[in-house]
């Protein structure tokens, strides 16, 4: 079995199982350590609390946009919003693989993002649907002309620039001997960068167009992504699954719901 077959057809169930175990461990610590405090909350109107909930999530974004523009543009917009989030969940190839293992995921098929501007051009100009062994083609994307910019190539480049910015920031802080910089910061970002680079190379048949190299590069891309999923509960990538949501919801509950700070 070559690396690509291993990555696509063998490992995913094990990866998901290991991720689930890790996630269960992380979440269980929160459950076992929890204690209920007998504190009387301050009464506030439900409508204000609801607005407060939205603001709890929005405020850091607004503050970032106002007071830390490079981080907002590179770290949030390029890396997260335009980069990895649409790439992970909507890139056509990813939708195809996720749908193979989890058929209901194919509901997102119409939202698929093509891998490049060339393939997006096809969606506009191709008179017929391309022949494909797959159960569906990328031609049916709802994005239409938007795929000129909303394509894997551009989004991957933005994400890579975002990761590069984050790495640069960490290097600068490490140079200034700030103690919150850890080797794990670099490991996580380098892993992410490696996934993005190998994915980009695979879609462009780099470094060469022969099938063996292609399968090796794509297999490496998927294996690296699977490593990320396995270690996710134990790295800072956990923020995406749990930390962000728990943190902001807790802050809202603590400050706004309980203390009434609206």
């Amino acid at each position: 079995m070559d690396i690509l077959n291993l990555a696509i057809y063998t490992l995913p169930p094990y990866v998901v199982a290991l991720f689930a175990l890790g996630a269960a461990y992380r979440v269980s610590r929160y459950i076992f350590l929890s204690r209920r405090a007998p504190v009387k909350r301050r009464s506030r109107p439900a409508s204000k609390l609801l607005i407060g909930l939205v603001k709890t999530f929005l405020d850091p974004l607004i503050i970032g946009a106002r007071l830390r523009k490079p981080e907002f543009i590179s770290g949030l917009m390029m890396l997260h919003i335009l980069g990895v989030i649409p790439l992970i969940f909507l890139l056509g190839q990813h939708v195809a693989m996720f749908s193979y293992w989890f058929p209901p995921y194919s509901v997102l098929q119409p939202l698929s993002i093509p891998s490049s501007a060339t393939s997006s051009a096809l969606t506009l100009t191709a008179p017929v649907r391309p022949a494909s062994e797959m159960a569906w083609s990328f031609v049916g994307s709802v994005w239409g002309p938007l795929t000129i910019v909303l394509n894997g190539d551009l989004l991957a480049i933005l994400a890579m620039l975002g990761v590069a910015y984050k790495l640069g920031d960490k290097v600068w802080r490490a140079y200034k001997r700030m103690i919150h910089i850890r080797p794990g910061d670099f490991a996580a970002l380098l892993l992410l960068l490696a996934i993005l680079v190998t994915g980009f190379m695979a879609t462009h048949h780099l470094p060469s167009g022969d099938i063996v190299t292609y399968r090796l590069v794509l297999g490496t891309h998927i294996i690296l992504a699977e490593i990320l999923v396995v270690i996710l509960p134990f790295t800072k990538f956990w923020h995406f699954v749990f930390g962000y949501w728990y943190g902001k919801l807790h802050e809202w509950y603590d400050l706004k719901y309980r203390r009434g700070a609206l």
Binding site: R29, Y30, I31, L33, S34, R35, A37, P38, V39, K40, R42, R44, T56, D59, P60, L61, I63, G64, L67, R68, E71, G75, K170, R173, K176, M178, I179, H180, I181, R182, P183, G184, D185, F234, K236, W238, H239, F242, G243, Y244, Y246, G247, K248, L249, H250, E251, W252, D254, L255, R258, R259, G260, A261, L262
Partner: protein, 447 residues
């Protein structure tokens, strides 16, 4: 002499174990879910004094402690996973420097994209430092005094309190009266720094016609002062004493005029610490005023003077009274103006969390009052001198806001804020009167 010169690795390890024993889900989240984006730096009052004083950096020592005690990966590969305990006195001093650049104002909490409150972590870090021998001498003195329960043991403190009590008797105040519905709990710190707040609160409570009393002697220096170094055991002892006193009187409501950490603690944190409801309501004087004004039970004489409100972080952001004080002051002054940052993101004065209470001017104030020198080692003195320089930098943003508002009077409701603003406005050459809310409102009560 302070313990600042000493370094003992056994004490450091014991401190680390003690801190880890306090883990709860929220603290665990604060410790492990930071991604290091450092957005918290933009709103922290101490970042202008140095980027290394940003919350993400200041909280890192606690993370290093917890990782090394809790996470298997960090125990096996401490370098890789960021686990470490200080090995030298210099390293420990550095951690103390970071921990005492946090006012626990909560701005990092609302700014953080992950809802991480670095101030909470730093209070645990301060407990570790206390156990490792790094606690400012003056703060330790006050903690010990409060735990002893004999708050007026020093002749100077007793004198100040007696003079105040005489004034209060003149207002018809009764002390330790059993059966009163309300108990007003002023602290020694208020008597020393904001005595007008105590007199003002007494006048307001009388005007509102409440059935109230207060202790004949202060129950605390500023309860619970040990909370400033995260000493839960000492905090619990003082809290129980206060709760027992209120139960003895039989009151259903405790009134506080100090809107700093005492209000936040008794209103929200004490029941969690005790593990049961206190058995009485805790209200701030602004709450009673707001309610009376809203119901039409009180009319104030309006002043023409330009007044602004400095929202104490613990009363506003951390206890929910953001607009109520503004509404009270708006009905007291025709020229009330809000400060630029008013609201959930109101800027901190820069002196909270005990910082203003340990800097050299405060130390000198106490030395003068007590008529004796408070012994501080050279090492601690260097720490305090640098802290004083930094408090002035940290407080500048607030002073600039005050200056821009053009206000003649800054009203606030926290002993620490009053003390800090007196220092920072003077240092930055801004002439403004600093008053507590009860003091200001009491002058406008109808005859």
């Amino acid at each position: 002499m302070s313990s600042w010169e000493v370094f003992g690795y056994d004490a450091v390890k014991a401190g680390a174990r003690a801190v880890v024993g306090r883990l709860n889900p929220v603290l665990l989240h604060f410790v492990e879910n930071c991604v290091g984006c450092a957005l918290c730096e933009v709103n922290c009052p101490y970042t202008p004094a140095g980027e290394e004083y940003g919350p993400v950096e200041k909280a890192e020592p606690l993370r290093k402690i917890v990782r090394g005690q809790v996470f298997l990966s960090a125990r096996l590969l401490p370098q890789l996973f960021g686990a470490k305990l200080p090995r030298t006195a210099e390293e420990l001093d550095r951690w103390a420097e970071l921990a005492y650049r946090c006012t626990n104002c909560g701005l990092c909490y609302t700014t953080c994209p992950f809802g991480i409150h670095s101030g909470t972590m730093i209070s645990h870090l301060r407990y570790f430092l206390l156990m490792s021998g790094r606690v400012p001498t003056l703060l330790k003195m006050m903690m010990d005094l409060e735990v002893s329960g004999n708050i007026l043991s020093a002749e100077a403190f007793s004198r100040v309190w007696s003079e105040l009590a005489e004034k209060l008797k003149g207002l018809g105040v009764t002390f330790d009266r059993k059966g009163a519905k309300y108990v007003y709990l002023p602290s020694l710190a208020e008597a020393l720094i904001t005595p007008g707040a105590i007199v003002g609160t007494a006048k307001i409570l009388n005007k509102l016609g409440l059935d109230w009393t207060m202790p004949g002697k202060p129950l605390s220096v500023r309860a619970p002062i040990a909370g400033l170094v995260g000493d839960s055991e000492a905090v619990l002892e003082v809290t129980k004493r206060v709760v027992d006193y209120v139960a003895e009187v039989g009151a259903s409501t405790v009134v506080l005029s100090d809107g700093g950490y005492p209000y936040r603690f008794f209103r929200f944190d004490a029941p969690a610490l005790l593990g049961k409801p206190l058995g009485f309501e805790v209200v701030h004087i602004v709450e009673l005023l707001h309610e009376a004004l809203k119901k039409g039970g009180l009319n104030l004489k309006e002043t023409d003077r330009k007044v602004t409100w400095h929202s104490p972080c613990q009363l506003g952001r951390m206890s929910g009274f953001i607009e109520e004080p503004v509404e009270v002051l708006s009905s007291a002054s025709k020229n009330f103006v809000k400060l630029e940052s008013h609201g959930l993101f109101s800027k901190c004065c820069g002196g909270g969390n005990g910082i203003a209470c340990v800097v050299p001017p405060t130390l000198e104030m106490f030395e003068k009052l007590l008529g004796t020198r408070i012994p501080v080692s050279e090492r601690e003195k260097a720490f305090l001198d640098k802290l004083y320089k930094d408090i002035l930098v940290a407080g500048k943003a607030k002073v600039d806001e005050i200056k821009k508002s053009g206000a003649q009077i800054v009203v606030t409701a926290c002993v620490g804020c009053v003390h800090t603003l007196n220092m920072t406005t003077k240092a930055h050459g801004v002439e403004v009167e600093i008053k507590t809310l009860p003091e200001f409102i009491a002058d406008l009560l109808p005859g």
